[in-house]
C-alpha cells in the first residue's frame, strides 16, 4: 500500500485563464451579455436574410411554371406583408417574438411554433446522444493516447483527432450508409425503427465533436501529468488507472467542459447535414428547407433558438466552472 500525498490545490497554477468569480454581479453581467448576443443575432440574421436576392413570395410563387403575372405577385406580396419596408417587418417580427408569437411559415402556412415543436425532439435526441457518444469516444481516445502499451499505439491514437476533425460530416454519413447499411445490410435506412434510425446519424454527428474534445483532453492530461504532484504520486507507485481517475480527470475536466460549450455550435451545423443525408426530420432539415425557400419567420425562430441554446450552455459552463475546480473558488475568497 502506497500512501499518496494529496498536493494542495494551489500548487498547480492554472494554465488557462480561469472563469471569473461567480458573484451575483458576475452572473448578472453574464446574463446581460447573453441577452445582448441573442438580440444582436436576431437583428443580424434578419438583415442578412433580407439582403439575399429573392424572398419567400418569389421562391414560392414566381416560378415560371405557375405563370402568375407581376400584378398577382404584388397582390400576394401585400397579402403577406412582404411589401412593407424592412424596418417595419423587423419591428413586427421582434414584437411577435417578445409576445411569444413566432408567426407562420411563408412556405407552408403552418405555425412556426408547431414546426419547431415537431422538429425539436428528434434533433434533441440526435444531438444529445451524439454528444454523449462524442464524450465517451473522446475519453476513450485520450486515455488510450496516454496510457496505451506501446509508443506506436499511443501515437496512433494521438493522430485520430486531427483525422476526425478533417473529415466532412456528410462524407462520414455517406460512407457509414454505404458500408453499414447498403453493403453489409446491418441497419436499414428506409423504414427503420426509431432506435435503428438513430444509430448511424448519432455516430456521424459524434465523430467531428469527439475530435476537438479528445484533442483538448489529451493536451490537458499531458499538462497535468507533467505537474509535480503527479510526479510525486507516480514516484509513490500510483498506477495509470489510479492516476487517471483520481488526479488527472478532475484537472482535465475544466478545459474540456469549456470547449464542449463552444462545440454546441458544431452540433447544430452537424444536425443540418446529418438530417439531410439520413433523410431525418428535425431542426436541421427544417433549417435547410427554410433557407432554400427564404422562409424568414422559420429561420428567425431557428436562429433565435440556436442562439439562446448556445448562450445558455456557455453561461452554464462559466457558472459551473468554479463548482468543478476548487481553485477558482479559492480565488474568490482570497
Amino acid at each position: 500500500m502506497s500512501v499518496v500525498i494529496r498536493p494542495a490545490p494551489e500548487a498547480a497554477p492554472p494554465r488557462w485563464r480561469p472563469a471569473a468569480p461567480p458573484t451575483a454581479r458576475f452572473a448578472l453581467r453574464r446574463v446581460g451579455q447573453a441577452l445582448l448576443v441573442v438580440v444582436a443575432t436576431f437583428v443580424l440574421a434578419f438583415l442578412l436574410l433580407h439582403a439575399l436576392p429573392g424572398d419567400a413570395i418569389v421562391a414560392r410563387y414566381a416560378s415560371p411554371e405557375l405563370g402568375l403575372t407581376p400584378e398577382q405577385l404584388e397582390a400576394l406580396r401585400v397579402a403577406y406583408g412582404a411589401d412593407q419596408p424592412w424596418w417595419v417587418q423587423l419591428g413586427l417580427s421582434a414584437g411577435g417574438f417578445l409576445t411569444g408569437d413566432l408567426g407562420t411559415s411563408l412556405q407552408s402556412g403552418a405555425e412556426v411554433s408547431t414546426l419547431i415543436a415537431a422538429s425539436l425532439p428528434p434533433t434533441l435526441a440526435l444531438a444529445g446522444l451524439g454528444f454523449a457518444l462524442a464524450a465517451v469516444l473522446a475519453v476513450g481516445i485520450a486515455a488510450a493516447a496516454t496510457f496505451a502499451g506501446t509508443e506506436w499505439l499511443r501515437r496512433a491514437f494521438r493522430s485520430l483527432p486531427p483525422l476526425f476533425v478533417s473529415i466532412p460530416v456528410f462524407w462520414i454519413g455517406i460512407v457509414l450508409l454505404q458500408v453499414v447499411s447498403f453493403r453489409l445490410g446491418l441497419i436499414p435506412v428506409i423504414n427503420a425503427s426509431p432506435a435503428e434510425a438513430l444509430v448511424l446519424p448519432v455516430v456521424t454527428i459524434a465523430i467531428p465533436i469527439a475530435a476537438p474534445l479528445a484533442q483538448v483532453l489529451i493536451r490537458a492530461i499531458d499538462d497535468t501529468l507533467a505537474e509535480p504532484f503527479v510526479i510525486v504520486a507516480r514516484a509513490r507507485g500510483a498506477g495509470p488507472a489510479w492516476l487517471l481517475g483520481r488526479e488527472v480527470a478532475r484537472n482535465a475536466l475544466l478545459p474540456t467542459l469549456t470547449i464542449a460549450g463552444v462545440l454546441f455550435g458544431e452540433l447544430i451545423a452537424g444536425a443540418v447535414v446529418t438530417e439531410t443525408v439520413f433523410a431525418r426530420s428535425g431542426l436541421g432539415r427544417l433549417t435547410a428547407d427554410a433557407v432554400a425557400t427564404r422562409d424568414i419567420p422559420v429561420l428567425q425562430a431557428v436562429v433565435v433558438i440556436s442562439a439562446v441554446a448556445f448562450v445558455v450552455i456557455n453561461l452554464a459552463v462559466d457558472l459551473l466552472a468554479p463548482a468543478i475546480d476548487p481553485r477558482l473558488r479559492k480565488e474568490v475568497r482570497a
Binding site: 424572398d55 402556412g109 426530420s281
Partner: protein, 552 residues
C-alpha cells in the same frame, strides 16, 4: 428488407437483367420489363417509393412539380384519361368524350353518378363545376393559381345531375386534354374550400380525391403513407387493374441525397426510386435493377436565347452560339441512352412535333465566321469584343433538370473556343427564380417543360406563360409579334390539323430565327426492382401506382 437477394447473386443476375432492361424498355413505354409480366397479380404488400424532394402543395394546378404530381396523380381521378403511349383520350369520370361545338368554345361532359370521394361525399355535377371553375380562374385571395393548362375559361354550369358544360371566351382546343392532366385532379367540396396553405405540407391527410389511393399519414418533409382505397371501382377502361390497387399501401420516403436513394434501392431497402441520375444508371443496372425511362412528351431540355437583349439581337450571334455548341459531345459524355439527342424544340413523341433536320449542327468555323461578320473581334484574352464591350452572356442553372451545371460547364468550354464568354448564374432556387425573368441578369435560359398537348409549346414560349424567350418589351408588347401570334394560334385553332400546322410553323420559326438550341429529350428516370410488376407512368412521366403488384 424488401428484396433479400444476396449481393453476389444480384451481381450475376445484374448483367442479364440490365441487358434485358435496355433492349426491352423503349423510352416511351414505362413498364418494368424484367420479369416478362406473366403470372397473376398478387394483392397485398407495401410498396416503398423513394422520392427526391418533399412535396410543396397538393393543389392540382401546382402539380407540375414532380413530388406534387406523384401524389396528385394517385390521389385524384380526372374527367378524362390520356393513354401515356398513344396520347389518346378516353373517358374516366366522364362517361364519354365531351361534346364540343365547332369552334371549341363549349364543352359538355356526361359524368358518372356512382363515384364517391374518400370522405364519403358523392362526386356530383356541382362538384365537378366547382373544381374546374377554381382551376380555370384561380383565387388570388387564397393564393390559388390558375391552371396553366386551361386557357380563356369563362364559366361552368350544371346542365342536369349528370351533365356539365364549360364555356370559353376563345377557342380552347386544349381543354379536353387539360381535364385529363393531374392539374385538373378532382377534389371533394371540403378540400376545394382550402387556401394555398391548406394544400401545403402537413395537410396531406385532409386532401380528399377520388383516385385509387388516399393519404393515410404524413410526416412533414420525411415520408407519406398512401393506403389503397378498397372501394375504388372507376378506373378508365384501358387500365390493367379495374378494381382497388393491388398493393395495400405505398410508403413514399423522401431521400434528397442521390447516393442514399441509389444505395437504398440497390441494397433492396426500397422498390422504386425516382430520379436516377445518368451517372448512377450503371450502378443501378449492375445491381440487377431495371431502369425505366418515361417520356415527358413536351418541350425538350435546351437553351432559349433572349433576343430582346442587345447582345443577342443580331441573328448571326444566335446562329454562332448554336454552331459553336457540340450537343453530341455533351449528351454522349455526361448522359446515357435514356436521353435521346433532340431533333426539334419539341420531343419526337410530343403532339405537333416537326423534325428540324440539321438545324443544330456543330460547326465552330461557321460560328467564328458569323461572329467576325457581326463585328465581334477576338480580344487579348480570346473573348470577342465589339466597341469595347465583351461578348459575355449569363445563363441560369436549371436546378430541377438533370446535371444542368455540368451541361453549362461544357457549353461554356465549347463557346470559349469561338470567343464567347458564358457565365453560370450562381444561386439557389429562390435566387434563380428571382433573376429568371430579368434579361439584364439572365440572357440565356436553360429549361424544359412536359405536357402531352399541342399547347405545351405555348406554355414554354408565350409571354402569357413561362416566356422563356422573354419576348416582351417594357410595355408588355411582344418584340417578335409573329411568334406570339403563332403561339396563340396553336392554343386556339379548333381542329387538330390546324393546331398541328401552327405548332410546325412555330418550330420552323424558332429554327429560322435561331431562338433556341434543344439538347435532349428529357425523360423521368426510375429504378424499379425486378419483382415490382405493373409500374406505369402518366403522359408526363409521373408514377401511376394502382396497377403495381409485388411478385413474391
Amino acid at each position: 428488407m424488401v428484396h433479400s437477394t444476396s449481393p453476389r447473386r444480384v451481381g450475376i443476375a445484374g448483367a442479364l437483367v440490365a441487358a434485358l432492361a435496355l433492349s426491352a424498355c423503349s423510352a416511351s413505354e414505362a413498364s418494368s420489363p424484367a420479369a416478362g409480366g406473366d403470372g397473376e397479380p398478387v394483392v397485398g404488400g407495401t410498396l416503398t417509393y423513394l422520392e427526391h424532394q418533399a412535396y410543396t402543395s397538393l393543389y392540382p394546378p401546382s402539380a407540375g412539380f414532380y413530388p406534387n404530381g406523384a401524389l396528385v396523380n394517385n390521389l385524384t381521378a380526372r374527367l378524362l384519361h390520356q393513354d401515356p403511349e398513344t396520347l389518346e383520350l378516353e373517358p374516366w369520370i366522364a362517361t364519354a368524350l365531351p361534346e364540343v361545338n365547332d369552334d371549341a368554345t363549349e364543352y359538355a361532359f356526361d359524368i358518372r353518378t356512382d363515384v364517391t370521394y374518400s370522405d364519403g361525399t358523392p362526386l356530383t355535377a356541382e362538384n365537378v363545376v366547382a373544381n374546374i371553375e377554381l382551376f380555370g380562374t384561380g383565387d388570388t385571395d387564397r393564393a390559388l393559381i390558375v391552371s396553366e393548362a386551361i386557357n380563356d375559361f369563362t364559366a361552368g354550369e350544371v346542365v342536369d345531375e349528370d351533365t356539365v358544360r364549360f364555356t370559353f371566351s376563345a377557342p380552347a382546343p386544349g381543354f379536353a386534354q387539360a381535364v385529363s392532366t393531374i392539374n385538373s385532379g378532382l377534389l371533394a367540396d371540403a378540400t376545394l374550400e382550402r387556401d394555398s396553405e391548406g394544400f401545403g405540407p402537413g395537410n396531406a391527410t385532409e386532401i380528399i380525391g377520388a383516385g385509387p389511393f388516399v393519404v393515410e399519414s404524413e410526416e412533414v418533409g420525411t415520408s407519406i403513407r398512401l393506403a389503397a382505397r378498397e372501394d375504388y371501382a372507376w378506373a378508365p377502361a384501358s387500365a390493367e387493374n379495374q378494381g382497388r390497387p393491388y398493393v395495400d399501401a405505398v410508403d413514399i420516403v423522401i431521400a434528397p441525397e442521390d447516393s442514399v436513394r441509389i444505395g437504398a434501392l440497390t441494397s433492396g431497402q426500397a422498390h422504386i426510386a425516382r430520379q436516377v441520375e445518368p451517372q448512377h444508371e450503371a450502378e443501378v443496372s449492375a445491381a440487377g435493377i431495371p431502369i425505366v425511362a418515361a417520356e415527358t412528351n413536351g418541350v425538350n431540355n435546351g437553351l432559349s436565347f433572349r433576343f430582346g437583349h442587345p447582345l443577342l439581337e443580331d441573328i448571326r450571334v444566335r446562329q454562332a452560339l448554336i454552331a459553336g455548341i457540340d450537343r453530341e459531345a455533351i449528351v454522349s459524355s455526361i448522359f446515357s441512352e435514356q436521353y435521346p439527342l433532340a431533333t426539334s424544340s419539341l420531343s419526337q413523341t410530343a403532339l405537333g412535333y416537326a423534325d428540324q433536320g440539321d438545324a443544330y449542327a456543330f460547326d465552330p468555323e461557321l460560328a467564328n465566321r458569323l461572329l467576325d461578320e457581326a463585328g465581334w473581334e477576338p480580344g487579348a484574352d480570346g473573348i470577342r469584343v465589339r466597341d469595347g464591350e465583351r461578348l459575355h452572356l449569363v445563363v441560369n442553372e436549371a436546378l430541377p433538370q438533370p446535371r444542368s451545371r455540368d451541361v453549362i460547364t461544357l457549353v461554356a468550354q465549347q463557346l470559349r473556343e469561338v470567343g464567347v464568354e458564358l457565365e453560370l448564374f450562381q444561386g439557389d432556387q429562390a435566387a434563380q427564380t428571382a433573376a429568371s425573368a430579368d434579361v439584364e441578369q439572365i440572357q440565356i435560359y436553360h429549361s424544359m417543360v412536359g405536357r402531352a398537348d399541342f399547347d405545351v409549346i405555348k406554355s414554354q414560349y408565350s409571354i402569357e406563360n413561362r416566356s422563356t424567350l422573354q419576348n416582351a418589351d417594357a410595355d408588355g408588347e411582344p418584340i417578335d409579334a409573329e411568334l406570339e401570334e403563332l403561339l396563340q394560334r396553336v392554343a386556339s385553332e379548333p381542329t387538330v390539323d390546324g393546331r398541328e400546322e401552327a405548332s410546325a410553323a412555330i418550330q420552323a420559326h424558332l429554327t429560322e430565327q435561331a431562338y433556341v438550341l434543344p439538347f435532349f429529350e428529357e425523360p423521368q428516370v426510375y429504378g424499379v426492382q425486378p419483382n415490382v410488376q405493373g409500374f406505369r407512368t402518366e403522359s408526363v412521366g409521373r408514377p401511376s401506382l394502382a396497377a403495381v403488384w409485388l411478385e413474391d
